[in-house]
Subunit: 197 residues, 2 copies
């Protein structure tokens, strides 16, 4: 949990319900609110020229998102969608800044989260500039491994479409590349499930 609910409410945050698939805010729009998820799941995505969807990040219960644009007063660089039915607390920019001012501990917490996100995005860039699909996928697997998002068995908890959305590849390319990686014994595939050690 990032900011505890009582504190959020004390500063005037209001919960808002979003249904699966709904747009929470749109790329290019002005950032007005701080968002923190009470329950549900949110994805931040941007569209590529060829109408592919690129996943900038995924957020769960307790996570907040969209802060940089809010704090810089710039338009959102990506859109946010509810992946499942979600309840999200919203707090106006002014009150959010006040809250941070009053609570140095929360400020430090957010700072630490920003460190993690910066680190994560640097690794992501490393993955995206690789023009070999094999390297992109291996890079992505190493990244989620270091983030402990792999199951203990090494199971990759993503669909092929999601792997495509994270790496900027097409689904078919992901599938064909996974086959090659399987031939090379770099990943194992059982019942369509992908395993990586």
């Amino acid at each position: 949990m990032h900011i505890d609910v009582d504190t959020l409410l004390a500063y005037g945050a209001t919960p808002k319900e979003w249904h699966k698939g709904e747009l929470i805010f749109s790329q290019g729009n002005e950032a007005r609110y701080f968002h923190q998820i009470d329950s549900g799941m949110v994805k931040m995505t941007s569209l590529t020229n060829d109408a592919k969807e690129f996943i900038q990040g995924v957020f769960n219960d307790g996570n907040s998102f969209g802060e940089p644009a809010l704090m810089l007063g710039k338009p959102y660089p990506a859109s946010a969608y509810a992946v499942s039915d979600s309840i999200i607390y919203r707090l106006s920019k002014e009150k959010f800044l006040l809250l941070l001012e009053d609570h140095p501990v929360l400020f430090k917490k957010l700072f630490h989260i920003f460190c993690e996100r910066l680190y994560c995005k640097t690794l992501t860039a490393n993955i995206l500039v690789n023009n070999s699909p094999e390297e992109k996928l291996i890079g992505f697997f190493d990244k989620i491994k270091s983030e402990c998002k792999l199951k203990e068995s090494g199971l990759v908890p993503y669909t092929r479409q999601q792997l495509a959305d994270y790496t900027g590849l097409r689904v078919e390319t992901v599938i064909r590349t996974l086959s090659k990686l399987s031939d090379k014994k770099i990943v194992a595939i059982q019942d369509h499930k992908v395993f990586y050690k």
Copy 2:
């Protein structure tokens, strides 16, 4: 200027000289020091599978770099090189944390810088996932435009090789794509110089 020199020195920072081209720290190495440039220029780069160099960021007088890895205690996700002869202050991690603890103003300043970098890296990801060279270059031009790195005349202050290093393309592709963009009147080229409005 990020942290003023007197403060840095008071906490035990020491200046170190680097010559053009020298490696300051290497991808994969443990982060031990906070780095702030007194004078000179530093680039952070990572290598792709096909031995291309990708520029994660460039830093000048007064800028600091490499903080996220330092604060997270993780290995550097990219390498840092001196682009020109540089003098860089180094401060041990413990003392740096102490300094931030003692100076909330500097802490907030760094926080703000992190906001900017996160925003920047999100835009960068948008550029990199585009698989059309034209869109990559236009995206990059829009990005540096929004960051006010374009000259007033619209001059793009980068060599073709640098454009390649920022977009993950090859030099030849950059050149050929610039020609197309010039035909389409999206950029203007005069005496090998590129102009974008």
